[in-house]
């Protein structure tokens, strides 16, 4: 009996021991999950880090499966025993559970017996970072690329080793180059071997990438600090700063001392006023009548009396400030302790800065060219009507607007953007050509001898057209969408880039220039136009019909404005005020360039474009100021060349 009892107990014990061995350590990953169970269930962004780290650093291949399941909300806990599984939804409310260690299905369980672990977006981001080391060697290249992106977003020292390990096995040449570059950047930021870091910095010196600068800049960040006596050894001093000389004003230096608790704070005038207000006794403060306290010196006297009476803290005098400043040393201290590193980073950044300056100059030139071509486009129609015919057309801007709206209407009818632009360009020409001819026939031809009145009459047409557009299309901006192949930009490096649409506008400006030159020099219309411009009566007696020539020339100028409108509408919003935004600049372009000469218009547009971009570069926050200075510059420029850059000479100049 006793033995059987004992034997039974033994069996029970041994089975319990077996159970005890089996339950707490069922399998490697499950055991980690069990250790971190509390944190995982709490599922808080702030506390989850150790749980993820434990999984990621376990070195177990199954950890990847766990993290991936967790990331997509497929991690489930069986409520009965607290085990974690990957769950797959079956029909109804049941889930099939899979063990992480074996990969085998362990059974189907109703949802009510399970608890889903739902990571929030913050936790998912952490998981993604942790997954990176697994994904770096994933057979799927797109997964590897995702991993690299994740590293770029959140570079961490822990990723350096797995990244380095994955480089030799990389088969995709593009990804290999990227991996090596990221490895270099990670080495600079988080490497442990100083010689290797310095060598990497030197190898990247002169690289224009934004990522290189973003990596190097933290290395050379400094803090301005004040020291009593000498600067303690061991600090990486960037430079000493003398208060009052250069960037550090004495006031700022003293504030630094106050912040470091090395000197007593100065009293602001507000604090003095509050102190004075707190000690009003019988209409007097410190013996000074209240009414006198609207003067600074009376306040000083009253406060001094308060200090003498021990009722207020003493003010810091100017001598005290000077003494404190003299007694301390100010220096900018690198955050990075190693002088070798900061020196190398500084040198690399200097050489990058030179490269960037060159790149920016190129970029600015491209910007200026594109602005110049926009001005040229807007002004070329005017160069014909104003430059060749001498007609001031204030409605020119509205022709540009009509062209842009034509493009918008065509896009409503033809959804394909490429086709619609191809249709819109000739249609815009036709519409504005017709409008121009109508305007010339109805209004302008009666006013050829009265240029100022042409200006006013066309202004009347301009406000009528603008309001008409408002009535038809409303006041809100209408989109004129560029075809897909014009989206994006030609990126040469991180400093120099130009959008395709600007290249297209530049090309269009060149084409217009060519078309204009061809029409004026090689066609009958051009010949007749030039003849009528030079001497209307003589041209008439040679069999040219001046009325017809004027009509067609004006129509041509207006039609070109319409095409320019389509081009401008592609990058600017189409509103009824689109034209009036360009009209003054267009006239400026023609006047500065020199009336009656297409090369003058080109020169004018180039000069105005470059000047405006140049001013914007000097004062990048303020494009309004750039336009103001440009106009002042033009007014002064007209003083020296009243007839523009390229002036007609002799009889062609008219008066």
């Amino acid at each position: 009996m006793r033995t059987t009892l004992l034997a039974g107990l033994m069996v029970l014990l041994s089975s319990l021991a077996a159970l005890a061995q089996q339950v707490p350590e069922p399998a490697p990953v499950q055991s980690i999950l069990q250790e971190q169970s509390a944190l995982i269930q709490k599922s808080s962004r702030k506390t989850i880090a150790p749980a993820i780290a434990a999984l990621a650093e376990s070195g177990l291949p199954q950890a990847q499966a766990v993290l991936e399941a967790w990331q997509v909300k497929a991690l489930w806990m069986r409520i009965s025993d607290g085990m974690f599984f990957r769950g797959e939804k079956l029909e109804g409310q049941t889930y099939r559970l899979f063990d992480f260690d074996t990969g085998q299905a362990v059974g189907d369980v109703a949802k009510s017996d399970l608890k889903q672990i739902k990571p929030n977006s913050g936790i998912r981001a952490l998981i993604a970072t942790a997954l990176v080391q697994f994904q770096l060697s994933d057979p799927d290249p797109s997964r590897r690329e995702e991993a690299l992106l994740a590293i770029e977003r959140a570079p961490a020292g822990a990723l350096l080793a797995p990244l380095r390990a994955s480089i030799p096995g990389e088969t995709d040449p593009v990804l290999k180059v990227r991996k090596m570059r990221i490895e270099q950047l990670l080495t600079i930021a988080h490497g442990t071997d100083e010689a290797r870091r310095v060598a990497t910095i030197q190898s990247l010196s002169g690289d224009l990438g934004l990522d290189v600068r973003a990596t190097l800049n933290p290395l050379v960040s400094t803090q301005l600090r004040a020291f009593a006596g000498d600067i303690p050894a061991g600090l990486n001093v960037a430079r000493r700063v003398a208060p009052g000389a250069g960037a550090l004003s004495p006031d700022a230096a003293y504030d630094l001392l106050v912040a470091a608790k090395l000197a007593p704070a100065r009293l602001s005038s507000d604090e003095i006023r509050t102190t004075l207000a707190a000690h009003i006794e019988g209409g007097r403060v410190g013996g000074v009548p209240l009414a006198q306290l609207n003067k600074e010196d009376a306040r000083t006297r009253a406060y001094a009396a308060l200090v003498e009476a021990g009722q207020a803290p003493a003010r810091v005098s100017a001598e005290q400030i000077t003494q404190s400043l003299n007694a301390h040393v100010f220096a900018e201290i690198y955050d990075e302790p190693s002088a070798v590193m900061t020196h190398a980073a500084q040198a690399a950044l200097t050489s990058i800065a030179t490269q960037v300056a060159v790149g920016q100059a190129v970029d600015l030139t491209l910007d200026a060219l594109s602005l110049a071509s926009i001005y040229f486009l807007a002004a070329i129609g005017l160069a014909i009507t104003f430059g060749v015919m001498g007609v001031i057309n204030m409605a020119h801007g509205e022709f540009i607007m009509m062209g842009a709206y034509t493009g918008y209407v065509v896009q409503q009818v033809i959804p394909n953007h490429t086709v619609s632009i191809l249709v819109a360009v000739p249609l815009a020409f036709a519409v504005t050509f017709a409008a121009g001819v109508a305007m010339e026939r109805l209004v302008i031809r009666w006013l050829y001898n009265r240029p100022l009145e042409t200006l006013l009459a066309t202004f009347g047409i301009s406000i009528a057209l603008q309001q008409l557009a408002k009535n038809i299309f409303g006041t809100q901006a209408r989109p004129l969408t560029a075809p897909g192949w014009l989206d994006g930009a030609w990126i040469i490096n991180d400093v120099v880039s130009i959008s395709y649409i600007r290249i297209a506008i530049f090309m269009l400006a060149l084409i217009f220039l060519g078309v204009f030159l061809f029409i004026m020099r090689r066609t009958r219309l051009g010949l007749e136009t030039r003849a009528v411009t030079q001497n209307r009566a003589m041209a008439g007696s040679m069999g040219i019909n001046p009325e017809r020539v004027n009509m067609l020339t004006f129509g041509l100028g207006s039609g070109i404005a319409g095409i320019a409108g389509v081009a401008i509408g592609l990058f600017a919003k189409v509103t009824s005020e689109l034209g009036s935004d360009y009209i003054v600049q267009s006239f400026m372009t023609v006047v500065v360039g020199g009336v009656g000469n297409i090369w003058g218009t080109l020169a004018g547009a180039t000069m105005i474009g470059f000047f405006q971009k140049g001013v914007e570069w000097l004062n990048p926050s303020n494009t309004l100021a750039a336009q103001t200075y440009m106009i002042v510059f033009i007014i002064v420029f007209i003083q020296f060349r009243p007839r523009g850059i390229i002036a007609l000479k002799g009889r062609a100049a008219g008066d």
Partner: protein
């Protein structure tokens, strides 16, 4: 002298009499001084219209008489408004700040008051420092002098540069338009020191006059505007009636001929350009306290072109024409755009005047330019039986104003 001057110019006398009658009747009907048939806001509108008539008068002098189509006179108008607005805003804010600081236990020092005013005025543009251009803002007298000086000096410098290099005709128009655009863009910046596109506001309240109701203030400003218009009209009539005026008209008709006769054309143009800029500045200084707010949009280039439109519709080259044009177009405009005009039902479409008025204005402007270059003022000629030379045919010579074919044949 003045007696003979007025008898030689009966139209001046008629104009002054009509103006006096108008002022008297408005005063009697207004809320502030009379029976109250005319509301305060309409008195303000009338006062503003008189100011616009004054600036149109200036425009007529420079364009109708001298032939300089300046598209910058509304900028001078706006500058005058800004100059008086600076004092109005400063003094009013000062009154508010002083009264709020007087509740503090310790009386405020002068610099504290100035800092508080700066905070109040420039808070909207994220600054609290007074820019240099506000250094006289605390003095009404100095600021009134600036009303005259700032537009005057700007016109003098700009005119000297432009006339010296013989920029004429449409080129001058474009250049003045560029000046206006440049000024407007400059004022649009927040760091221009004039509160960027917020402009200056609260100008309808005269500092120290809080006890006077707006109805009374409006009638005061109406009187002041009428007086300014009367003085401006007398001055303009006196200028154009004399030999000086003949030279101006000569410059308009043939600049080169006047120069060859030995006159300093540039001097005459500069004088008239500067004087009219000053008149425009004064008109602006009277206008904006009645409008209550001024911002850079007011001096956009298009405003100056509208000014030319008024003068052209009223009739160039005659002083009363400019006044009639300004009053007629601005009142009709505000009637149509203010929503008072009844919609026109065409059966298939209802014409809303708010939307269509500008189109009507633009087209009627084209028609006036084409068919009635003498404007509304030309109607007076029909009545007074004054005939224009009957000029037909094309120009004989290259310049505008040369003898025409048919005249030469006679």
């Amino acid at each position: 002298m003045s007696d003979t001057f007025l008898t030689r110019n009966p139209s001046t006398l008629v104009f002054l009499a009509v103006l006096a009658l108008f002022v008297l009747s408005v005063t009697l009907l207004a809320e502030g001084a009379g029976v109250g048939v005319i509301s305060t806001s309409f008195v303000k509108t009338l006062g503003k219209t008189l100011c616009l008539a004054l600036v149109a008068l200036a425009m007529d002098l420079v364009w109708g008489y001298t032939g300089i189509l300046s598209l910058g006179h509304f900028a001078f108008f706006g500058l005058g408004g800004y100059m008086i607005g600076m004092w109005l805003m400063y003094a009013r804010t000062q009154a508010i700040v002083v009264s709020s600081l007087s509740e503090a236990p310790i009386p405020a020092t002068d610099s504290e008051i100035v800092d508080a005013i700066g905070n109040q005025i420039f808070g909207v543009v994220g600054s609290s420092e007074f820019p240099l251009i506000w250094m006289f803002a605390d003095s009404l007298l100095l600021q009134l002098m600036l009303v005259v000086a700032v537009p005057g000096v700007l016109a003098l410098v700009f005119g000297w540069l432009a006339f010296r290099s013989r920029v004429t005709g449409v080129y001058l128009s474009i250049l003045t338009q560029a000046m206006t655009l440049g000024l407007a863009l400059y004022l649009f910046q927040n760091d221009s020191g004039l509160r960027g596109n917020n402009g200056l506001s609260g100008l309808q309240n005269l500092p120290g006059m809080d006890h006077v109701p707006q109805a009374t203030l409006s009638i005061w400003f109406f009187w002041a505007s009428a007086a300014a218009l009367a003085l401006g009209y007398l001055f303009a009539a006196w200028i154009v009636a004399g030999k000086f005026g003949s030279v101006l008209r000569g410059i308009r008709d043939n600049e080169a001929r006047v120069r060859f006769l030995g006159y300093s054309v540039e001097g005459y143009k500069l004088f008239i350009f500067t004087v009219t800029a000053i008149i425009a500045g004064i008109a602006g200084a009277l206008y904006y306290p009645q409008a209550g707010i001024i911002n850079p949009a007011e001096i956009a280039p298009v405003a100056s072109i509208y000014l030319a439109v008024w003068v052209a519709i009223g009739g160039r080259g005659r002083l009363y024409g400019a006044v009639i044009g300004a009053i007629f177009v601005s009142l009709v405009s505000s009637w149509f755009t203010g929503g008072q005009a009844p919609d026109l039902d065409l059966g298939f479409y209802t014409l809303k005047w708010v939307d269509w008025w500008l189109i009507v204005l633009g087209l009627s402007f084209v028609l006036v330019t084409l068919f009635a270059p003498r404007g509304i003022g030309g109607l007076v000629d029909l009545w007074s039986d004054r005939r224009q030379p009957d000029r037909h045919g094309a120009d004989l010579g290259p310049g505008a104003g040369a003898l025409r074919e048919k005249e030469a044949e006679q």
